[in-house]
């Protein structure tokens, strides 16, 4: 199976190390993947608040381009993943939306048929297609003894009926266990990271970030593993600020699950973007080196 990779805006900016590590992991596992040609922004959650039809149409352009080339789309950003799936669902279930958008696409020289293209999250592909057993076999450097706090954020499992449980997912737990990590069970797996509120309503956003960091620390985590660029950004970039507000030292590295996986598969540090994090992450690997 060859995939299209849909970076979305974040993986080209604040989530640059997610892109690096994801591409590296897929290359190491021999899964062919290339960037979706001339993709546009998915519209994220903000777009739906202004004009839903425009939001869906923007997302549909990406689906149409992918379909033209007949490849499934890997959407690593949880917001992109959710929006693209929602667009597919709405185009299938609501005739007035389907007709309007198909007509507009047609005028722009594009077609879209529906279920030919599947939207996948890389975690889904790795756990359910590649498989935990296969990944365990490929591990070259075990992360034995690294206590990881798996944090899924919200949209990767929303709306419900996705590839994992909507409030208590376990896919990443199983993946990290296969890498040798000691995975911490906790009830905040899908608790909101604050999303865009960290930039708009600081007091609220910081509190949500603090809750997660504090709980990770309390449970003795060496690192937080994330699947979403916004979660990673909030927990990493605002950590210093949260430490100041709550007068508490936290110092918890916040990593993409693909970085931990990449390391275990034997990738070079420079291919994982480890140096791009604000809270230093190298110390996590020093433990097992």
């Amino acid at each position: 199976m060859e995939y299209f990779y849909y970076p979305g805006c974040s993986l080209k900016g604040t989530g640059a190390s997610y892109e690096k590590s994801l591409l590296e992991v897929f290359a190491l596992l021999g899964i062919p993947m290339k960037e979706l040609p001339d993709w546009n922004c998915c519209g994220a959650t903000s777009y739906m608040s202004i004009d839903e039809e425009v939001a869906l149409a923007m997302a549909a352009r990406n689906l149409a381009i992918a379909e033209e080339n007949g490849r499934d789309v890997i959407a690593p950003c949880s917001a992109c993943y959710m929006v693209l799936r929602k667009t597919q669902k709405y185009m299938k279930e609501y005739a007035h939306i389907r007709q309007s958008i198909l007509n507009a696409l047609k005028k722009a020289g594009l077609t879209y048929h529906g279920d030919r293209v599947r939207i996948r999250h890389p975690l889904d592909v790795l756990v359910n297609d590649v498989g935990i057993a296969e990944i365990r076999k490929r591990v070259q450097r075990s992360l034995n003894g690294v206590r990881v706090f798996p944090y899924y954020g919200c949209l990767i499992v929303r709306p419900k009926n996705g590839f994992d449980h909507a409030t208590y997912p376990t896919s990443m737990d199983r993946l990290l266990e296969a890498l040798g990590c000691e995975v911490i069970d906790h009830p905040l797996k899908t608790k909101c990271c604050g999303g865009s509120l960290t930039g708009t309503l600081e007091e609220v956003g910081m509190r949500l970030v603090y809750i997660l960091l504090k709980e990770a620390k309390k449970r003795g985590s060496h690192a937080i593993a994330t699947v979403c660029p916004l979660c990673q950004f909030n927990l990493d970039a605002y950590q210093e600020k949260v430490e100041k507000i709550y007068s508490e030292s936290l110092g918890i590295p916040v990593m993409y699950f693909t970085q931990l996986l990449g390391y275990a598969l034997g990738a070079e540090d420079s291919h994982l973007g480890l140096e791009q994090h604000i809270v230093p992450v190298q110390e996590v690997f020093e433990m097992v080196r």
């Binding site: 419900k160 449980h165 409030t167 208590y168 069970d185 906790h186 009830p187 905040l188 809750i211 709980e215």
Partner: protein, 668 residues
């Protein structure tokens, strides 16, 4: 148009208003006027309620005075009143099968919005009936004797009640129970709401009565394998699982259990919901009926390795002198002949681990309500002391209602008993521990005799009632008051504020759902299930314990969530239905059965393989198929399948159906 049997049809058409049910939508006078114009219709009348005595009298009088020989009633579904009008036709002096019912209520007035269209549709349906009835012939129903013995499946309070009622009436009853003891869920409870009388005090005498009753043959640790036959004459195969203890010899003295090589109990006790432990040889609870030990081959060393010193067997032989333990016991198949069957297979509770947010299975101090029933029970693993897993007494307890119920992600229905049993547990916990008790409910539902008073009592006892469905039970704590405890997060929806309430113990009031194998059982007994999976009654109000299969009755929670009073009432009702069936001594078979024309049958066997009731056999000497009239249900499968068109079904002959279609298409 002459009828098949020579006489000229003289048809009477009777259109029912059914109050406003039909009359409010269909223009009945117009329909009646139309009916008068149809071929061979001698009289057409309307009446407010045709099923009433004066309504039926119209039919009888017309038969006698106007020589009516075909009767059509246009009213409700034949399901409801076909029998009524056939009887009226008979009483008028005509063969009851020269009657036909046209359904203009369920098929017309209830489902059509436009009165004009409804009126036209009613006309078409009546015209179809008029065309069809020309081809009706007099038919005779047959009688077959009924075996008065009864099978009851399930030995909970429903099965026990039905068994005792029938046995006391002198009927021979076979009571089949899957577990090693009867008693069901009720045997696990400590107290019962709203009167708080002790469950075992009221149940145990009944269990003993079952064992001692000369008319009851109790078959425990057994399951029904096969059901053959029909109402009045069922043949049932029952598999009796080996318990490795000979029932007749065991006296329930516990010596084997005491002498088991396991010095202390090691395996979760099923009866104690895993809260207590048992040994591989055990008696599920002290009041078990029959009071006979059972060996679990999954955990017994002898079965696992074959190298156990078998001290239990030795003790039974040498100390008690009974030699009741038999490691070579095999399963046994019994064949039972009965005339009626009562299914009382009960329910299962919702698996709370399906809601991970409530932490069941992850946090040790989150319990299901059934586990708490064992915990508060004086014969339970803690002797009735309410303690946490580490032995501490809880200072505060949260009881979460509607777990798995009223939730479209799981079971959409209200389980009916949870509000009341939650109140009961709240009372017991408060009484015995003095803990703060919080009830989290969506709506309080206490609609039983004395139930509202019980709710009132709990309000006075100082129990907290917080209206809101709990989102999560979490060990994520944020202040010293919460540290080391479980936190319940809920919106107090009466106040409109989100609250975090720290507790030491959480009780999940799990809902009731159909047993996992309800679908299998349904097939076995050839009955129906509702969409939710409960056994379907024949009519929700008027035939609540009958099923669509004659002779098979249902009682208790297998039909839907029910508390003990309702279950017992239903079990009594089912026993009454059984008595009215078997005491009549015979049943009348509907004549709408398939008939094989032996001259046309080519002996191809196609029908034999297809018949779902095994009603067709092959006559080797004549080289033709033949139908057992008692077994045929008139489903019509063989009629459609016969390549030689040698089979027809009475009341559904080709000419009758073709005429009906023709009539239907006559109205524009």
């Amino acid at each position: 148009m002459a009828g098949r049997n020579g006489d000229l049809p003289r048809i009477g058409v009777y259109v029912c208003h059914c109050g406003t049910n039909i009359g409010g939508k269909v223009n009945v006078p117009e329909v009646v006027a139309f009916a008068r114009t149809l071929p061979n219709v001698v009289v057409a009348r309307e009446y407010k309620y045709m099923c009433s005595d004066p309504g039926q009298l119209l039919i009888k009088e017309d038969i006698q005075k106007l020589n009516i020989n075909r009767v059509i009633v246009a009213s409700c579904s034949p399901h409801l009143h076909e029998h009524t009008f056939r009887k009226a036709t008979l009483e008028g002096g005509q063969n009851p099968y020269l009657f036909h019912m046209a359904n203009i209520r369920e098929h017309v007035s209830w489902v059509t919005d436009d009165p004009e269209k409804a009126t036209e549709k009613a006309k078409a349906i009546i015209e179809a009936a008029v065309y069809r009835i020309q081809f009706h012939e007099p038919l005779e129903s047959k009688q077959v004797p009924v075996n008065p013995d009864v099978l009851i499946v399930g030995g909970g309070i429903a099965g026990i009640t039905a068994a005792l009622t029938l046995a006391n009436a002198g009927k021979k009853v076979y009571l089949v129970e899957r577990e090693s003891s009867i008693g069901g869920h009720m045997a696990k409870f400590d107290k019962t709401f709203p009167t708080l009388d002790c469950a075992s005090c009221i149940l145990t005498p009944k269990m003993t009565a079952v064992k001692d009753h000369p008319n009851i043959q109790l078959i425990t640790y057994a399951e029904v394998l096969e059901v053959d036959g029909y109402v009045g004459n069922f043949t049932v195969k029952v598999k009796k699982k080996p318990r490795y203890v000979i029932e007749d010899r065991c006296i329930g003295c516990y010596v084997c259990v005491e002498n088991c090589v396991y010095k202390t109990p090691k395996y979760p006790s099923e009866f104690d919901e895993g809260i207590g432990l048992r040994k591989p040889i055990y008696i599920p609870f002290p009041q078990a009926v029959p009071l006979v030990a059972v060996i679990d081959p999954e955990t017994c060393i002898e079965f696992k390795s074959g190298r156990c010193p078998k001290k239990c067997q030795q003790a039974c032989r040498e100390v008690v002198g009974r030699d009741a333990i038999d490691f070579t016991q095999k399963e046994e198949i019994l064949e039972i002949q009965v005339g009626a069957i009562v299914l009382a297979t009960g329910f299962q509770t919702f698996d709370a681990s399906r809601i991970p947010e409530y932490g069941y299975g992850r946090y040790p101090n989150v319990y299901t309500s059934l586990e708490i029933e064992r915990l508060v029970n004086s014969s339970g693993p803690t002797g009735g002391e309410i303690v946490l897993r580490d032995g501490r007494k809880p200072r505060s307890v949260g009881i979460i209602h509607c777990v798995g119920s009223r939730d479209r992600n799981f079971n959409p229905w209200c389980s009916r008993v949870c509000c009341m049993y939650s109140l009961k547990l709240a009372h017991l916990v408060r009484e015995r521990t003095g803990a703060e008790v919080y009830n989290f409910y969506i709506d309080m539902r206490t609609p039983g005799k004395g139930y509202e008073e019980f709710y009132e009592k709990l309000l006075h006892e100082g129990v907290h009632f917080i209206r809101g469905k709990v989102a999560e039970v979490t060990d994520w704590t944020i202040n010293p008051e919460e540290a080391g405890r479980l936190v319940i997060r809920v919106e107090d929806s009466l106040i409109g504020v989100v609250r975090r309430i720290p507790v030491d113990m959480v009780i999940l009031s799990v809902g009731l759902e159909p047993r996992a194998d309800a679908e299998e059982l349904r097939r076995l007994f050839n009955i129906s299930c509702s969409a939710e999976g409960w056994f379907l009654e024949r009519h929700p109000k008027l035939a609540p314990v009958s099923t669509y299969t004659d002779g098979v009755f249902i009682a208790g929670a297998c039909q839907g969530p029910k508390d003990i009073p309702d279950t017992v009432a239903q079990a009594g009702a089912a026993a009454g239905e059984v008595l009215s069936l078997v005491d009549r001594g015979f049943i009348e078979l509907e004549p709408n059965i398939a008939v094989i024309d032996a001259r046309k049958c080519s002996g191809c066997h196609v029908c034999i393989a297809l018949c779902p009731y095994s009603a067709i056999s092959f006559n080797e000497t004549e080289n033709v198929a033949q139908i057992n009239e008692a077994l045929c249900k008139g489903c019509g499968v063989c009629v459609g399948a016969c390549p030689s068109r040698a089979i027809h079904q009475q009341l559904f002959k080709d000419e009758q159906i073709m005429a009906e279609i023709e009539g239907l298409l006559m109205v524009e």
